[in-house]
Symmetry: C2
């Protein structure tokens, strides 16, 4: 019951569902009940026996171990889903643990975390991706899509690997591109660096933002989506080399064409 | 008399200076007078004989040719300054044309252009860099710094090359880093690309912003600041390679250290 779990609770309770919340911390359970995030809260897994769908909202590294702990308490028809930002390794491990596991990724968040950060309408208008396998029941996928619609999110269904490839391009690659910009600048001599820091404005601020973000999250992306991230980093490096070559060879018309074409294509990434 | 020239006129006229504006377009002269941007406006250079300081606010490629055209009309003590975002090539060429030329770069702007985009207080709180050479008179540099203070800008004085090196890091390099991200993504297969475009959110939006901006401006940066931009691009590529190597070798602790250190250093670039 942190930012994501808590926000799911608020909206789904509002839709009329009975919400059961689990936390290791009794204080979080108390806060969740006080804020009306859940109907029932406990540090014990027993209350999960009443559930039809379980959302595991832990960090990526704890998803499989959490499922192992809760599965003795679940009805065999219960669907387990997660909210991790990488899907292939999670789906591959958790499907072995529970046949009714379906990977999920709601594309919403804030820079805050914890139960106090939980919000109503966090998922409104956001994409919510589900990554079922051939082993999953179609009715279970439909049930999760219906829940996404109750959250006013937009459900998408795709292969776990396609999900990981897509988020590598638009989320994980930008972090590495952006952090390399900060590292490179910091290697300048002190006097020039100081002037650069004085002169930096919105262009630097925006391009460096995700590279200066949560380090744990950055490492998780790289660790769990390593293959796809490396694939997109290699392609990025090739494209950077092309830009460098155009500048080296003073091919200004070609450089202008690349910049113009990118300016025209960028709006397709902005919703 | 576009965004920058017009905005200089508005603020300096407010400070009590007599402002003389030149434009090739009679309509711009009319608008400038109507909006109170200038006291006198003309398409002819003769009116410049009354001026103590001339701000050349053309695009970079037209600065030297503009100075050649106006200099027959100027008092020998008149200071000429420009507002170009690169200084070394401009200072080197224009100092030959006019001994009282001092390069300038007010670090302010909007995405708009033209006289209609001119604003009061555009320079408030912004850095205004001057790049005099040993040949310039100290009193002339002081005069320009005093004008920057009247604009409520913060004047800095540095060597033209140091200016170009600093802006390469925080302004020109980010454009190339950012545009390479867009090009790389666009090379993905259509289905995955479409999903990536659907899933893209603020991280991609911010990191790709300056790479999808004005192509003419991007080419100007590369053309006039080629040496410094290439220097910063080579350093960037080395740093990107370091990140790629850490991910290839699964050195998660080291990657976390880089991300954490960059997160701590980034605020020094944000004013």
């Amino acid at each position: 019951m942190g930012l994501i779990g808590g926000s799911l609770g608020i909206d789904l309770r509002e839709s009329g569902h009975q919400i059961y919340g689990i936390s290791r911390s009794p204080e979080t359970c108390e806060t969740a009940l006080e804020r009306g995030v859940v109907d029932h809260a406990s540090t014990e897994f027993e209350i999960l026996s009443a559930t039809e769908v379980v959302f595991v909202c832990t960090p990526i590294f704890a998803i499989a171990s959490t499922i192992k702990q809760i599965l003795p308490y679940l009805d065999p028809e219960t669907i387990i889903t997660d909210v991790g930002s990488v899907k292939q390794p999670i789906v591959s491990e958790c499907s072995q643990l529970w046949s009714n596991f379906i990977g999920g990724h709601p594309m919403a968040g804030t820079s805050e975390s914890g139960i106090d950060a939980a919000l109503a309408n966090l998922f409104k208008g956001a994409a919510y991706v589900f990554t079922p396998t051939a082993a999953n029941k179609l009715e279970h996928v439909e049930k999760l899509k219906a829940i996404a619609l109750e959250l006013n999110a937009i459900p998408y269904v795709c292969d776990p690997q396609i999900h990981d490839r897509a988020v590598s391009w638009i989320s994980h690659l930008p972090v590495m591109v952006s952090t390399s910009l900060i590292t490179a600048c910091l290697q300048e001599k002190p006097d020039t660096l100081k002037l650069a820091q004085i002169l930096a404005s919105s262009g630097f601020r925006d391009t460096s933002r995700v590279g200066g973000g949560n380090p744990e999250l950055g490492v998780m992306m790289a660790k769990y989506n390593r293959t796809e991230l490396l694939r997109s980093l290699y392609s990025y490096r090739d494209n950077l080399d092309t830009i460098i070559n155009l500048i080296e060879e003073e091919k200004w018309q070609d450089l202008g064409n690349v910049l113009q074409s990118n300016g025209k294509s960028r709006p397709k990434f902005l919703n």
